[in-house]
Amino acid sequence: MIPSAAISDAMYVLAAVLFILGIKKVTKVQTARVGNFFGSIGMLLAIVATLLRMQFDGAGIGWLYIGVAAMIGSLIGGLLARFAKMTAMPQTVALFHSLGSLAAVLVVLSFEMTAPSSDPFIVFTAWLSIIIGAVAFTGSLVAFGKLQELLPGRPILYPGRTIAVGLIAIATFVVGALVQMHGASGATGMHLLYMLTGLACLLGILLTISIGGADMPVVISLLNSYTGLANATAGFVLGNTALIITGALVGASGFILTKIMCKAMNRSLVNVIFGGVGAQKQSSKGSQEYSNLKESSPEEAALLLDSANSVIVVPGYGFAVAQAQHALKELFEALGKKGKDVKFAIHPVAGRMPGHMNVLLAEADVPYDKLYELERINGEFKNTDVVIVVGANDVVNPAASQDASSPLFGMPILNAHEARTVIFIKRGLSPGFAGVKNSLFEADNCRMLFMDAKEGLQQMAKEFRET
């Protein structure tokens, strides 16, 4: 008879293959839904394999506890997935990260209580996985709090912050080293692990609380990577291939997104984590006075659009906050009916998480092949008649490429200023996240439409249909 361990291991391999295929298929829009389906089947296989192994190993399955826990968890997960708003996607993902990481910590603690290994490498992965998991747990919770606006979005800074973070980090790793020397077994070993968990939780809070709301795309990507690594290291503790392979896949993918986001903001990862940049800049931003502003009206904007052939829309997060998706769709359809060529230029950090704006526009029924990323569209602005900037600010600030003294300098921007005319829909002259003046407002080809994003787009659509 084939041993049950071999059967479940084979099923784990199959699950890993399905995860890899699933993730691969999610890199193309046409196959993405199939990919998601593959992923969920892989998960089902892994769960069944585990239950089979437990049944035949003689350990048995604690059906009651598992059943109750799984039912409650699935219900909560289902409700969150069903009712979360698309604008709230970043905090929902952050919450999932948080719960998944906590689960990894609990699993490792549970195994160290019942079957601690004395192998030095396993002990190493045990305390490492507790540190990564606990940091990701509280870090994601803080990120959730900031995105949900339960906590202030601005960086929370206090004197001696770097020292405090440094000390806690050192203390965490000292306890980790103690675990390594003593081993995780016995009462002392467990006490050390509890202490480690507490310290790492604190570290996660301290690291994330000082990061500003604008840097959230980086933070979420990084936490995604951590969650994966926590799983992989936990996999070593359990000697479980499914956990190791899956954790490594996710760790790598989160890391790629982190790199892309850092590049899009022209920041290094170290700078995002230890910078607290938003706060310092706002105190020294200098002049916010504007001259040569040309105020426009929906009527004028409609006339400009009427005589234009090509239009590029640059949406920012503010457009989603204003719930302007439907209004944008109206304008998009009206422009299409009159044969205008309309494209959307999406800056990589145009939302609160990587690719967030694309999802928000998909929700507004904008076809995804009308969305262009920065590299693909930046050459087209100079041949474009009208650019509509709505809910965005820093990502079209020409200072980023022209003014070496600007805090934005070096950040890749969308070259909206090169278009023949720019219509800037904005409620007032308040600065963007970087807290700096936007020189585009004063440019000769820029018209300011001081309105709420939703109202502005609606009225433009209305006027445009009547012209």
């Binding site: 998601n36 998960m43 604690g62 997960g77 997935a81 698309m86 019942t114 070593f236 190791i244 996710v250």
Partner: protein, 93 residues
Amino acid sequence: MIELFALITFFILAVFVGYEIIAKIPPTLHTPQMSITNAICGIIIVGALLAVPSSEPELATILGAIAVGLASVNVVGGFMITERMLKMFKRAK
């Protein structure tokens, strides 16, 4: 029990696989991709299940059961929300 060295090999190879398959993802799909990898992270449910055998409950079992609950939120929520997002992506007619 698979040898430790084999496990480390799996880990390293999987990092490379992960890097290769995701490196070329278009920005349009960044959010769904993070959302599906997040769902897949719910694989920790495997470890959580193993921590809940049919023996008399003790602290370790209870921690395992809590982990099962947390991981279920992650798995069910993650795959469902990814599906909900992907359903919205449409091509131009």
